[in-house]
């Protein structure tokens, strides 16, 4: 038990643990919708787009959450608008917007000196810089996202399952799409410090994918995804502390390990299901 208590002597760990566990669960909630709507690329792209805003706000001396927040909202709304158009491939258009924003961040960094350490922290996540404000922000965003998901659970489910038909049934899909893009942007901004730009996409995707392997019910998938995200955030922080590796990497590696076990454990069920349907298992 000593190894569990030992890191609590450090304030950065206490803050980091709360942020990592909440960030894991938060990404898992939003990620469930991201995965089921085949929007994984948007999550990945948005994280990169916001990186540009984070760098710009740092160099301009603007508070990270204000600068990156405004940048994130603008990027999310632009990505959402582009994704709804038919004339060009949504993936290609999103790629242009988000990589251009990311490239701007890299360009600004390359002009600034003594920024290397922060650059790595932004890319791969670092709990050393987690402060009280970060804890408050990630908990606040998690509460807002949870509240919105609970209140709008049913329209969001319909929108995720069948967007075109949901519109005919009276679901205001354009508004919900825009709202979801904002929730996604807020999630990325709130978790960037601990997870890192390059690893947020994994934290959004892996817990829901594991949950999907384990259930055929949406509600159960959502709950399992949150549990997996939170537990892996918690466990990843201990790994990060004891192995002295980046927190984002530790959390994502924990999730990848859980995925491997879940995949192997459910392989038998999938083969049995195929056999019962008369399909040869491969």
């Amino acid at each position: 038990m000593e190894f569990l208590v030992e890191p609590f002597r450090f304030e950065f760990f206490r803050n980091g643990l709360i942020v990592a566990a909440v960030a894991g669960g938060l990404c898992a909630v939003v990620g469930t919708y991201v995965v089921l709507r085949n929007m994984s690329y948007i999550g990945h792209g948005l994280a990169h787009a916001i990186f540009g805003g984070a760098v710009a706000s740092f160099l301009a001396g603007i508070n990270f959450y204000l600068g990156a927040g405004a940048w994130g909202v603008a990027s999310a709304l632009m990505v959402n608008r582009v994704a709804r158009r038919r004339t060009i491939s949504a993936d290609a258009a999103i790629g242009v917007i988000t990589t251009a924003s990311f490239a701007l961040g890299v360009a600004l960094i390359s002009r600034a000196r003594g920024f290397t350490r922060n650059f790595e922290a932004a890319l791969f996540g670092n709990v050393l810089g987690v402060e009280k404000l970060d804890v408050v922000i990630v908990i606040g965003v998690a509460l807002i996202v949870s509240l919105v998901i609970v209140i709008l659970y049913r329209p969001f489910l319909f929108l995720t399952f069948d967007p075109e038909v949901a519109e005919v049934f009276g679901v205001r899909t354009a508004r919900l799409d825009a709202l979801f893009a904002l929730l996604l942007a807020a999630t990325v901004i709130a978790t960037m410090q601990v997870l890192g730009v390059t690893l947020i996409a994994a934290a959004l995707v892996i817990p829901p994918v594991v949950a999907r392997l384990m259930t055929d019910r949406f509600r159960t998938m959502l709950a399992l995804s949150v549990v997996i995200g939170t537990v892996s955030g918690f466990a990843g922080m201990y790994l990060s502390f004891y192995l002295d590796i980046a927190s984002g990497a530790a959390i994502v590696l924990t999730q990848a390990t859980i995925f491997t076990f879940a995949y192997l454990a459910t392989a038998q069920n999938r083969a049995g299901h195929k056999r019962s349907l008369g399909v040869p298992a491969h």
């Binding site: 209140i151 489910l157 075109e164 038909v165 005919v168 049934f169 009276g170 019910r217």
Partner: protein, 269 residues
């Protein structure tokens, strides 16, 4: 228009045209859907059938013309089964309960009244025992009925169905059409698209032939005639009558008589 007629009108398209960018999919089409009507829309692929349903359902706004709908319009929509994501983690009861969401119901839980209604609808459609099953585990006909139940869950006065007979067996097709007749008899307007001309001829009182514009509309007996079918599909077809219903068959340009072999080699006849 008489007052009775306006009371019975559920939705009407007035000289509607619709284009995706510069591609005009429907041109100058008018249609009035009346309470309790059962209308089949036929036409070749790309003729604008699904677009017509979306215009009626409010999912699309016309490029030209207008859509007039009753203030009390409530729509139930049944999509083409091949557009459904069958790997989505959702069970039969969850799909049906979506119908009562309609963007207005909020919160995480479904009410007892909604659950009872969903159960009754599924039971009436003969699939009550499948409630907890994943939608992928059902047969084609059962899946079709799940989406009909979801449409009815919205307590609609207009049900729109996109290709409900596609890929289903004969028994399922007959069951689906019987269900739709029952729905229409309760005063609900039903509009469906299909490629199955003979089902339309045998089961529906009214048919509309379109190919990016209205070609003809009326009872199948007077509408499904060779000239109209040629104009609609660009293919020559012949009609024979059976029990008062037209049966549409392809016209072969050079009839080939294939002798029926009464006795296969080595097999006793």
């Amino acid at each position: 228009m008489s007052n009775d007629r306006s009371r019975d009108s559920v939705v009407a398209l007035r000289n509607v045209s619709f284009a995706y960018d510069r591609d005009v999919v429907l041109s100058d089409l008018s249609l009035e859907v009346m309470r309790g009507s059962l209308l089949g829309v036929v036409g070749p692929s790309g003729s604008g059938k699904t677009t017509l349903l979306k215009l009626l359902g409010g999912g699309l706004d016309p490029s030209l013309g207008s859509v007039e709908s009753s203030p009390s319009l409530r729509i139930g929509y049944v999509p083409q089964v091949d557009t459904v994501n069958w790997y989505f983690p959702v069970t039969v009861d969850e799909v049906v309960l979506m119908g009562s969401s309609a963007g207005r119901r909020l919160g995480l839980r479904y009410g007892a009244e909604e659950r009872d209604r969903a159960h009754t609808l599924l039971h009436d459609l003969g699939i009550g025992h499948l409630e907890p099953r994943h939608i992928r585990e059902l047969s084609g006909g059962q899946q079709q009925r799940v989406f009909v139940a979801r449409a009815l869950m919205a307590d609609p006065n207009l049900v729109l169905l996109d290709e409900p007979m596609a890929g289903v067996d004969v028994k399922t097709r007959q069951d689906v059409l019987a269900t739709l007749r029952d729905i229409a008899e309760r005063g609900v307007a039903v509009v469906l698209t299909t490629h199955d001309l003979n089902s339309v001829a045998a089961h529906l009182p009214e048919v509309m032939c379109i190919n990016r514009r209205l070609i003809a509309q009326g009872p199948p007996g007077s509408t499904l005639v060779p000239d109209v079918l040629y104009e609609t599909f660009g293919a020559e077809m012949e009609l024979i009558e059976h029990h008062g219903h037209p049966i549409v068959i392809d016209k072969h340009p050079d009839p080939v008589v294939v002798p029926i072999q009464r006795k296969a080699d080595g097999i006793p006849g």
